[in-house]
């Protein structure tokens, strides 16, 4: 299409004179939509990633502008997914940019009726104290037959199937050293 004059902005003119007599394509396009550009075209960089939902493991291209994720598309290079994403994978931009995502630590004290604010470092410290205290109070060195156990049955864990291998590795390593054995994840659910 050549340079547009004011009269060309009338869709009916374009429909009658152009290559779109049914008015379902170029003829019906407004100046506004004509001037739109895809977020994928204006990204500062594209980062290679993997879809976080199911275990097919589709490739994702993460489009970033001004250090924010602007769009997530299927990675056409992936021999697994060939650029496709399902409704969940295609919605993962909303997953990471959701306005209801929590950004601060929330704390509910025993018998409390509402959330309170808590500093992240304080929270980490309090959790470390809880682990140490619970472990000491529930430690089992041996059982009644004298077999050594070296464990706590007071600390339990659930989670891992949506985590990275590296994260699970530190989780299992730390708990095992602490003697916490009730460590489980979605694989058994």
């Amino acid at each position: 299409m050549g340079r547009r004059t004011w009269i060309d902005h009338w869709p009916v003119v374009r429909q009658l004179t152009g290559s779109d007599p049914l008015g379902r394509g170029a003829a019906s396009k407004s100046r506004h939509s004509d001037e739109l550009t895809a977020r994928t075209g204006t990204a500062d960089r594209v980062v290679k990633s993997i879809c976080p939902y199911c275990a097919v493991g589709c490739g994702q291209d993460v489009y970033v502008r001004d250090d924010a994720v602007t769009q997530i598309e299927g990675d056409p290079d992936s021999p697994i997914s060939r650029g496709r994403l399902c409704p969940k994978g295609a919605a993962s931009e909303q997953l990471v940019n959701s306005p209801s995502r929590e950004t601060t630590v929330r704390y509910r004290r025993p018998y409390g009726t509402d959330w309170e604010d808590l500093d992240l470092d304080t929270a980490l410290d309090m959790i470390a104290d809880r682990v140490i205290d619970t472990r000491a109070r529930t430690w089992q060195e041996t059982d009644s037959e004298g077999r050594f156990l070296r464990r706590t049955m007071g600390i339990s864990h659930l989670g891992g199937a949506t985590l990275d291998n590296e994260e699970n590795y530190l989780i299992k390593k730390l708990y095992t050293a602490l003697g916490a054995i009730q460590v489980e994840n979605q694989a058994r659910i």
């Binding site: 409704p87 619970t134 430690w139 291998n165 050293a177 460590v183």
Partner: protein, 850 residues
């Protein structure tokens, strides 16, 4: 598959385009059925009868792939003469103890041979010539029996596996399949003809399954039945074959390989059980067997202990083997929840999971949460597990009061996959690296950050402790480099530790390099090689269209980048491809090496005619035809002489809750299923009890394309919530008429556990079952919902009881019984009254235990 793994399903459609027949076996008609050549609707919970019927069809008509069967399976193995089958004992195997509800499996073994379970079943008494004791508490007991059984390659010996199989499955006739599953005999024969005509030298059949097969009280035996069928037809270790698990979470395979599971250590090494005076040597000997690749288990364990305890782990102190805590039974997720209610468990970390609506019997989960001292929840959104104390269903019913719940709750916001580096392991065993694109905001942190800094903080607080129990914490190798303003641990450094290092500190390239003298370290032996040559192999992204169809240069598969495991079986006994069309790996006689399209899953230079020395160990004890290299005898097991707690062969049992009695045996349900008696976990009466009529319908649970698991990653997103805005149930027009349910109206589904309300979808996708002269209706319940988020509704998990498969402790979520009635459920105490009235009518109101 089209619903829950849509992008994976494109390959099924590619196969269909090339002439493959697609058969969909499912109680419901779904998007998969719509695209299949044949939909086979079966009654939920009857797959062993269906698959057993197919096994029987193959055996009775001698349609097995005989060359494959004789070369690669234990079909010719002779079984102990004391073994008695379900045919002899009306649904039980020999060794059943009705007092404990468990088996003593000594009689299940091979004659005069002892086999080791492939991984993890330390407590299993070894089968064999009767020299073991129940519980196998001695471990190091001396007698070493040959791992390889006597064989009758004519398959005529009455106690050979092939003949036992033939007798065991003889009653799984098309008539019985019809009576049990509700599958017409014509449909059954179409399936039988399709899979048998599509198997052999030149063709293969694949089975894909998901939790529809695993969430049963006989889930492991479902997979076993498929394994028997696929081995009879020669469809394992070959391209286009296999039994393919379609797993539901980005790294659920990884969280099994590097387990956040109670019973195993990284790489499927069992967690040690409590035994008197058991050292590393005894531990390894008791579990591993001496032949097959598990014969190297000591190297895997020592290298793991070196990765964890570094210089503290020495030969003199048994490489800190005593630092490992000991198990004494089932410490699985459901057992733990009951212990939370009991009050013995004080603290709970819930990381990227939502048990308050996502686990069976959700009320039980919340009662556990409400009885903790402290709870840590890490997630993106304010999920139900974090808010149960404030707005959980029990607050409304008055069972719990906020002011009386003593649980201290920490909610910590988590970083998303775009905000951190790391690997997911997909369902094909592929480790794929994802790169950090942006930084997380505010207090959002990766779980890597949380656990690294939590461990660091605990170690600081315990520094200087002289208490022996703190030694494992203080001796832990925990010095990872950190980067950026948040002190994020470098995930790459953790992956390097997982891969492992040699004596000179350079990254290892293969698990075959691991040693048992402490000179190598490796955090997960099956992942050894993911950092081969000092290169992050998991980050490889050579485009698929620039490489072969195997795509070996995209990411990295364990073990050793093999894309199909046991692929030695893709060639015949002499190492030649079964056919040109199905060539995958083969023996090159000129080069005297295995070669092919994939990395051979076999010792590269071991010729097909190799015969081991009688006293050889580990992989050296395997012959040139022993393709199943992790097995102590190198064979795929049609019959399982050791390793399963509910029998060496699959047997059809009715689900724990079923409107039908078992027509195949007097034994109604799996005699070893795990049940938990609790007032909040009441079970429905068996079908022989008139009270069972109170819950006349079968219900099954499932997922939707547009939601994910318990909803934490989907119910809070506008797009997905618009596509599936609220909880619903599916019923047939006949059931709708019978119960006065209207399309888009409300229904209340009731069990002895709880009642939920759902919008009604009247659809012919869910058909009434017509079998044994009766019509029984089914109700479909997708399970993603809870009260929080944008798309809300009751949780389907309210309806389920906790009753488990005894091998793996997975709940029977795929089938139970229920009632359904029109209208919304009552609120407040009236909801409890409704459920109590049902319990009273069924005669189970006062029972505490099953």
């Amino acid at each position: 598959m089209a619903e829950c793994h849509p992008v994976g399903f494109q390959w099924v459609m590619e196969a269909k385009r090339r002439g493959a027949a697609v058969i969909h076996v499912d109680p419901r008609f779904t998007r998969t059925s719509a695209l299949a050549d044949l939909h086979v609707p079966l009654r939920a919970g009857t797959d062993i009868a269906f698959l057993g019927g197919l096994v029987n069809h193959v055996l009775q008509n001698e349609l097995d792939f005989r060359d494959y069967l004789l070369t690669y399976t234990n079909a010719p193995a002779i079984v102990d003469e004391r073994f008695q089958d379900t045919e002899d004992l009306d649904g039980l195997f020999s060794g059943y103890d009705p007092q404990t509800g468990t088996y003593h499996p000594q009689s299940w073994g091979y004659e005069d041979a002892q086999a080791a379970a492939a991984a993890g079943h330390r407590e299993m008494p070894k089968s064999g010539a009767g020299r073991t004791t129940p519980g196998d508490t001695h471990g190091a007991a001396g007698a070493t029996l040959a791992a390889k059984p006597h064989m009758d390659r004519t398959l005529q010996h009455p106690r050979c596996v092939y003949q036992i199989l033939k007798r065991h499955f003889a009653r799984y006739t098309p008539e019985h399949v019809e009576q049990v599953c509700g599958i017409g005999q014509d449909t059954f024969r179409r399936v039988a003809d399709a899979i048998t005509s599509n198997s052999g030298r030149d063709r293969t059949t694949a089975f894909a399954y998901s939790v529809g097969w695993t969430q049963h009280t006989v889930g492991v035996q479902y997979i076993r039945t498929a394994a028997i069928l696929q081995l009879l037809l020669g469809n394992i270790g070959r391209p286009g074959g296999g039994i393919l698990a379609l797993r539901g979470h980005a790294s659920i395979q990884g969280s099994t390989d590097i387990p956040t599971l109670f019973n195993i250590l990284p790489g499927y090494i069992p967690m040690p059980h409590a035994h008197p005076n058991q050292d590393l040597e005894a531990f390894v000997e008791a579990d591993a067997g001496s032949t097959g690749f598990w014969g190297n288990m000591r190297s895997y364990v020592v290298s793991l202990l070196k990765a964890w305890y570094g210089p503290a782990a020495t030969a003199e102190n048994d490489f800190c083997f005593d630092y490992l805590p000991r198990l004494t039974g089932d410490h699985g997720s459901y057992r733990t929840v009951l212990d939370q209610i009991e009050g013995t468990v004080k603290g709970y970390f819930v990381i990227g999971e939502n048990p308050a609506v996502g686990s069976a019997n959700a009320k039980l989960q919340r009662l556990g949460l409400a009885n903790l001292e402290w709870l840590v929840v890490r997630d993106f959104q304010m999920i139900e597990t974090a808010t149960f104390w404030k707005d959980g269903p029990e607050i409304d019913t008055g069972e719990l009061e906020t002011e009386r719940i003593g649980t201290e709750v920490f909610f910590l916001p988590a970083a998303a996959h775009t905000e951190k580096d790391g690997t997911f392991t997909n369902t094909q065993r592929l480790l794929q690296w994802h790169h950090r694109a942006v930084e997380p905001r505010g207090d959002q942190r990766s779980d890597l950050w949380f656990y690294y800094h939590l461990g660091h903080r605990i170690r600081q607080k315990l520094a200087g402790s002289t208490d022996g129990r703190d030694r494992p914490v203080l001796d832990l190798t925990w010095n990872y480099p950190v980067e950026g303003a948040m002190d994020e641990p470098v995930a790459d450094a953790v992956l390097r530790e997982i891969n492992g290092f040699g004596a000179d500190g350079s990254p290892l390239s293969s698990y075959t390099e691991l040693t048992d003298d402490g000179s190598t370290s490796c955090g997960c032996w099956i992942y050894c090689g993911c950092y081969a040559d000092g290169v992050n192999q998991t980050a490889r992204r050579k485009p698929g269209h620039e490489q072969s169809w195997v795509a070996s240069e995209w990411a990295w598969a364990w073990p050793s980048n093999r894309r199909i495991i046991y692929n030695r079986a893709s060639a015949d006994a002499d190492g030649r491809p079964w056919s040109e069309r199905k060539a995958y790996v083969w023996w090159d006689p000129g080069e005297r090496r295995w070669t092919g399209h994939d990395v051979p899953d076999f010792q590269a230079s071991k010729p097909p005619d190799f015969e081991p020395e009688p006293d050889a160990k580990a992989e050296d004890a395997l012959a040139g035809t022993d393709a199943f290299i992790m097995q102590s005898d190198g064979k795929a097991w049609l019959y399982v002489p050791t390793g399963l707690v509910d029998g060496p062969l699959p047997t059809h049992y009715e689900p724990h809750e079923s409107p039908f009695t078992n027509v195949l045996y007097t034994q109604q349900a799996n005699p070893t299923r795990q049940m938990y008696g609790h007032r909040a976990n009441r079970y429905h009466p068996p079908p022989s009890d008139p009270g069972s009529a109170v819950f006349p319908y079968v219900f099954t649970t499932y997922r939707l394309t547009e939601h994910h698991t318990a909803g934490g990653m989907s119910r809070f997103l506008p797009y997905l919530s618009e596509l599936q805005p609220e909880f619903f149930c599916e019923v047939s027009p006949q059931l709708a008429a019978e119960r006065g349910l209207t399309h888009l109206g409300w229904a209340t589904v009731v069990t002895a556990r709880n009642a939920v309300e759902a919008r009604v979808l009247v659809t012919e996708r869910l058909r009434p079952l017509k079998l044994q002269g009766r019509t029984v209706h089914q109700v479909g319940v997708p399970y993603h919902w809870g009260p929080n988020g944008l798309s809300t509704g009751d949780a389907g998990n309210e309806l389920l009881s906790v009753v488990l498969d005894p091998n793996v402790h997975i709940q029977e979520a795929k089938v139970a019984t229920c009632d359904i009635r029109p209208g919304r459920r009552p609120r407040g105490r009236e909801l409890l009254r409704l459920v109590e009235r049902y319990q009273e009518r069924a005669g189970i109101a006062t029972e505490e235990s099953p």
